[in-house]
């Protein structure tokens, strides 16, 4: 575990190497990236195994001294970190491998791998950070990495826009995180997690301040994890290459928000209000995104909204004091969602479209991809025996046990929607008659199916590390030695599991009737509630609302200031200079009145300052 700091350095090395030699290596760049992330994975597994038996390890060194303030850097290996390290490095390794096939023939192949390396480095660094400041630093770096990856297909105008949107939307959240971090520092005098928790525990921070800082930090998590109302960047980010979506939008960056809340859990747990906020935002996001998912026709967008929705579940779990449940779902989701994205990529690779209306009957043609996609779909729908079933069940129990009955039922309904739209997606893509235009459909190469098979296996078995039947190893281990994190497993009534199973199967059955058997018309709902449908299909018009408010407001302010600078001041001056000019008729181009403007502004400024000084200073009376 002493060498855990090496883990992020391998991908960084890959980034630097590919930056320098990428052009010469061409597609061989893939091997550099794959081997180096494999090294990260091996080390991560060693660290995880070490942590399973050993104790938490922390190493720090002085970094920066400002006056009396001493800031440190270092790394820490606790249960959560160790688990995250393996998840991130594993998914990253698989995505690296997969991309070799997916990106084959792309002109900027080495660049893609370089960016992947940068991103993986930032994410692993984030996970290892033992203090808030370092977390923030990597948090921003993750943002930069995703900016580059989402905008990778830069000749698509929409990709460029999406990259910028993702960066700026998450940045709005980051401001919250930054302010929260500084406030905490101000209150506790430290950025270190343990010291912050210690002083919160000792009651040195006032209740209001705990709530305020927790909510500010949560705003950061809301931005990164695409929670309502800052979720709009995530679906747009699907403009990036599909492996990127699997890496960033399933297992790593979006999970960083959940990870942050989990890391800061003792702070959140100290404030009732903060916990309810997290739970409510989570539940609302879960159901809200699920309803949008019902109407989308782009294969990746459906998955994007399902990601938003599933992240909402994780937040709900954390907010309902189900620490173990939230982290557990984070893990299972990372596997099955990465699988779904990679499988979707494989479908897109085969049929060259993302519109599910144009797909159909691919079951026989994609003999590897189709069953793997089915496994992912079953897992996310919460069908018994698959991983998603166990983790979602834990979340529902946590919500129920915490007494949030409304949120519990929202989550149950969202589970029904999830099962429905995921199988809608599955049936529309794989069942029915094959389209005539899809003749040359081939299964993807081994480099792509291989990683999918690994994830497929994990999507099934990863649930068994924490089940009510065979023991809750993961949950118990996660909270071991830290009472602030609550219980590893919460006992809940048995009927919850049955309800979860029933809604999931009901959703699947309805999807089957509508999209496979077609005994219920697809337009049954749309024709009955056209307004509602149009609201949902337009994603509740959130983007439009942002467009009309924030974007225009910024533009308006900027125009306004320019107006003042250019016209108002200029106009005043022109009145004066107009006379002068009229007299002298100096046609000299340089004397176009502008220099006078500048001088006048300075004078006006001075005059205003002096005036205020005279009025407020009280010196006139003295």
């Amino acid at each position: 575990m002493e060498n855990a700091w090496l883990i992020p350095l391998f991908p960084l090395l890959s980034f630097l190497a590919l930056l320098l030699f990428g052009k010469r290596l061409k597609e061989a760049s893939a091997y550099v990236g794959i081997l180096l992330t494999l090294a990260s994975l091996v080390f991560s597994v060693i660290v995880l195994v070490g942590r399973l038996t050993g104790a938490t390890y922390k190493l720090e060194a002085d970094w920066l001294q400002i006056g009396d303030l001493q800031l440190t850097v270092g790394f820490e290996v606790n249960q959560l970190n160790a688990l995250m390290l393996v998840i991130v490095s594993l998914v990253s390794f698989l995505v690296h491998t997969y991309s070799k096939g997916y990106m084959h023939g792309d002109q900027r192949f080495p660049v893609f791998y370089a960016y992947l390396g940068l991103f993986t480095f930032a994410m692993l660094g984030l996970v290892l950070s033992p203090n808030l400041l370092q977390t923030y630093i990597f948090w921003e770096l993750v943002g930069v990495g995703s900016f580059l990856l989402i905008g990778f297909y830069f000749n698509k105008e929409s990709a460029k826009a999406a990259a910028k949107k993702a960066f700026i939307m998450t940045r709005i959240g980051d401001v919250g995180l930054f302010i929260g971090m500084i406030l905490l520092f101000w209150q506790t005098g430290s950025f270190e997690y343990d010291e912050i928790f210690a002083s919160v525990h000792a009651g040195e921070v006032s209740g209001t301040m705990i709530t305020l800082t927790a909510i500010l930090i949560f705003i950061g998590a809301v931005g990164k994890s695409g929670q309502f109302p800052l979720h709009t960047w995530l679906p747009d980010a699907m403009e990036g290459p599909t492996p990127v979506s699997a890496l960033i939008h399933a297992a790593t960056m979006v999970a960083a928000g959940v990870y942050l809340v989990a890391t800061m859990f003792p702070l959140f747990a100290a404030s009732e209000t903060a916990m309810s906020t997290v739970a409510i935002v989570g539940a609302v996001t879960a159901i809200f995104a699920a309803t949008i998912g019902l109407t989308q026709t782009d294969i990746k967008r459906v998955l994007a909204y399902s990601t938003v929705s599933q992240l909402g579940y994780m937040m709900l779990a954390l907010g309902a004091a189900g620490y173990a449940a939230g982290v557990f779902h984070l893990m299972t989701h990372a596997f099955f969602k990465a699988l779904l994205f990679l499988a979707a990529g494989s479908v897109i690779h085969a049929v060259h479209t993302q519109d599910i209306e144009k797909m159909g009957g691919l079951w026989k043609k994609l003999s590897f991809t189709a069953p793997l996609f089915l496994i992912g779909t079953l897992a996310i729908s919460g069908v018994p025996l698959f991983s998603g079933f166990f983790s979602k069940d834990e979340i529902l129990i946590a919500a129920w046990a915490n007494g949030n009955y409304i949120l519990f039922w929202l989550a149950v309904i969202a589970a029904f929607f999830t099962a429905f739209y995921m199988f809608r997606l599955f049936f529309m893509v794989f069942s029915g008659k094959a389209r005539s235009e899809m003749k040359n459909v081939h299964e993807s190469p081994v480099s792509m199916t291989g990683p999918m098979i690994v994830l497929g296996i994990l999507a099934v078995v990863s649930g068994y590390v924490n089940t009510p039947w065979f023991g809750t190893f993961l949950g118990d281990w996660l909270v071991e030695g830290n009472e602030a994190l609550g219980h590893g497993h919460i006992e809940g009534p048995a009927w919850i599991m049955i309800v979860a199973t029933v809604v999931s199967l009901a959703g699947i059955y309805l999807a089957y009737l509508m999209y496979s058997k077609r005994s219920i018309s697809r337009d049954w709902f749309t024709s009955r509630a056209p307004t509602l449908y149009s609201i949902v299909v337009n994603k509740y018009f959130i983007d439009e609302i942002y467009q009309t408010t924030i974007v225009y407001a910024t533009k308006a302010i900027s125009l306004f200031l320019r107006f003042i600078e250019m016209f108002l001041v200029n106009g005043l001056v022109q009145l004066v200079t107009g006379i002068v000019r009229g007299l002298g008729k100096t046609g000299a181009k340089l004397q176009n009145g502008q220099i006078q403007t500048y001088g006048t502004v300075a004078f006006l400024g001075l005059a205003v300052l002096l005036l205020i000084f005279a009025l407020t200073g009280g010196y006139l009376n003295g």
């Binding site: 900016f147 001075l606 000084f613 003295g622």
Partner: protein, 503 residues
């Protein structure tokens, strides 16, 4: 003054200045007598070596105790040493850029002039940082200003350059007049021009009428000096002058001249206005007027960042960005925390590297394309990945993204504004908000470089000097971002928290 007293002064304190003076005299003569055919670039290298020599000589003086000569008009304290070092390092980098500068219409005839005017400008800035007297401060200020006026108009056949110089001279004169007027109040009340004497005299001042007059002087000096900082309300010249001036001159103005502006501002404000008691005599005037400076800092940040959003010309964009950066530094100046010197010094150090690095690349691109439109950065990643990545480093640093020197600089200022009591949280919030606004235009350049196809695929030729600047700046920007302690240790060991500033 007889020869004996003259010789008894410890002239070695002025070593760096002497080197620069001698070098500029030699350059003038060489430029005059060397045949036309002689490549004047060699003079640039000569100037560069002179600046390096001055740096070495300054480093040799680091261990000296605080000393002053010429009746306390020239003093070498920690403040002078620290900021002189910044000025010299910045100038050395700008010189490297200037040697490679080759505008379309040619600069062969005037290239020699460029270098010795540059050195005299630098000399003025150095004198300012070492002044203990209003007279020398002012002489230094004017030496810097007059040199810069000519430098801005050096491209004699270029209309924009002429316009730029013209505007610069006129605005500069106005600012000088205002500053001088303010200084005359100080002299009128104290009867002295020596900063130390004045501060001693003002400490015992009780008559509120005088205090009021000193308040007027404060504002006039501040507004006059705002010209050098390019901060509100004297900021409007910056975009026009930056756009028209030759690129290395723009780099000089936005870095060296700006640092000099802050040097003189701190020198006058801290030594004089922190000695004047106001009200019941417990707080000095400088603290009493914090809200005004804070207000100007806020307006500067907002205006610089918001107007930058609309710029298409890269040099104008950087002009507004440099206005915004002046605003950030003013936040540190407003807060007056006990880490004020450290954080301003560090911010400027970071600014020297990130801004000059960016200017190196700007010079390269604009010179090649003959236009300053942002569009020419399109597809830079394809044309030259290394250039694009280093430019990205500079831009990320200017935007204050963690991992770069710019972030540490902002963090210092930010913490400084919050650690004083009462804390300036409104100002700190405005700083964050405007930083977020700045992401829009900084990332606009990033989008151009990485996400747009190049108009042409020709490779860019990288001259040696520019190359060196880019490498030095990129390495320093990242190094100071990852290991900022290097710079702070240097400050701690050599300058002892600027304790000797007042005495």
């Amino acid at each position: 003054m007889d020869l004996e007293t003259l010789l008894s002064y410890e002239w070695s304190l002025m070593g760096p200045e002497f080197i620069i003076v001698i070098a500029s005299v030699i350059l003038t003569l060489l430029d005059l007598f060397l045949p036309k055919k002689f490549n004047r670039r060699m003079l640039g290298w000569f100037a560069f070596v002179a600046v390096l020599a001055a740096i070495v000589s300054l480093l040799g003086l680091l261990d000296n105790q605080v000393g002053s000569i010429l009746h306390d008009t020239f003093r070498l304290d920690s403040f002078a040493k620290a900021f002189k070092l910044l000025l010299l390092v910045g100038s050395a980098l700008v010189l490297l850029l200037a040697i490679d500068y080759e505008p379309k219409e040619g600069l062969t005839e005037y290239r020699g002039e460029f270098f010795y005017l540059f050195l005299t400008g630098l000399l003025g800035a150095m004198i300012m940082s070492s002044s203990g007297d209003l007279i020398t401060l002012f002489v230094g200020l004017e030496l810097l200003s007059i040199s810069s006026y000519i430098l801005a108009g050096l491209r004699k056949k270029n209309l924009k350059s002429n316009e730029s110089a013209m505007k610069y001279v006129i605005n500069g004169s106005i600012s000088t007049a205002i500053t001088l007027f303010g200084m005359s109040y100080l002299y009128g009340i104290t009867g002295s021009t020596n900063l130390n004497e004045m501060s001693g005299m003002l400490r015992t001042l009780t008559d509120p009428q005088y205090t009021y007059l000193l308040g007027l002087a404060f504002f006039m000096i501040f507004v006059g000096l705002a010209f050098k900082l390019a901060s509100v309300p004297f900021h409007m010249w910056a975009p026009d002058v930056y756009e028209g001036a030759p690129t290395p001159v723009t780099a000089f103005l936005s870095v060296v001249s700006k640092i000099a502006g802050f040097v003189i501002l701190i020198r006058i404000m801290v030594s004089i206005f922190s000695s004047i008691p106001v009200g019941d005599g417990t707080i000095p005037m400088l603290f009493d007027l914090q809200d005004f400076i804070g207000f100007l800092a806020a307006v500067t940040m907002i205006l610089g960042n918001v107007v930058a959003l609309r710029q298409r010309n890269i040099k104008r964009l950087f002009a507004y960005s440099s206005i915004a950066h002046a605003g950030y530094i003013l936040v540190a100046f407003t807060a007056m925390s006990y880490v004020m010197f450290d954080s301003i010094w560090f911010y400027m150090l970071a600014y020297v590297f990130m801004n000059l690095g960016a200017f190196a690349i700007i010079q390269l691109i604009t010179e090649k394309e003959g236009s300053e439109d942002i569009g020419h950065f399109a597809g830079l990643y394809r044309r030259s990945p290394i250039l694009a990545v280093t430019m990205a480093v500079f831009i990320l640093s200017l935007a204050g993204i963690p991992g770069t020197a710019g972030f540490i600089g902002k963090l210092n200022i930010f913490l400084g504004a919050l650690m004083v009591s009462p804390s300036h949280y409104v100002l700190a919030s405005i700083m964050i908000a405007t930083t977020v606004v700045s992401y829009f235009y900084y990332f606009g350049i990033m989008t151009q470089m990485f996400f747009r196809p190049a108009a042409e695929e020709t490779k860019l030729k990288l001259p040696a000097g520019t190359n060196a600047v880019i490498i030095i700046c990129a390495v320093a920007t990242i190094l100071l971002g990852v290991m900022p302690q290097l710079a702070f240790d240097f400050l701690q060991t050599n300058f002892n928290q600027f304790m000797d500033f007042m005495g």
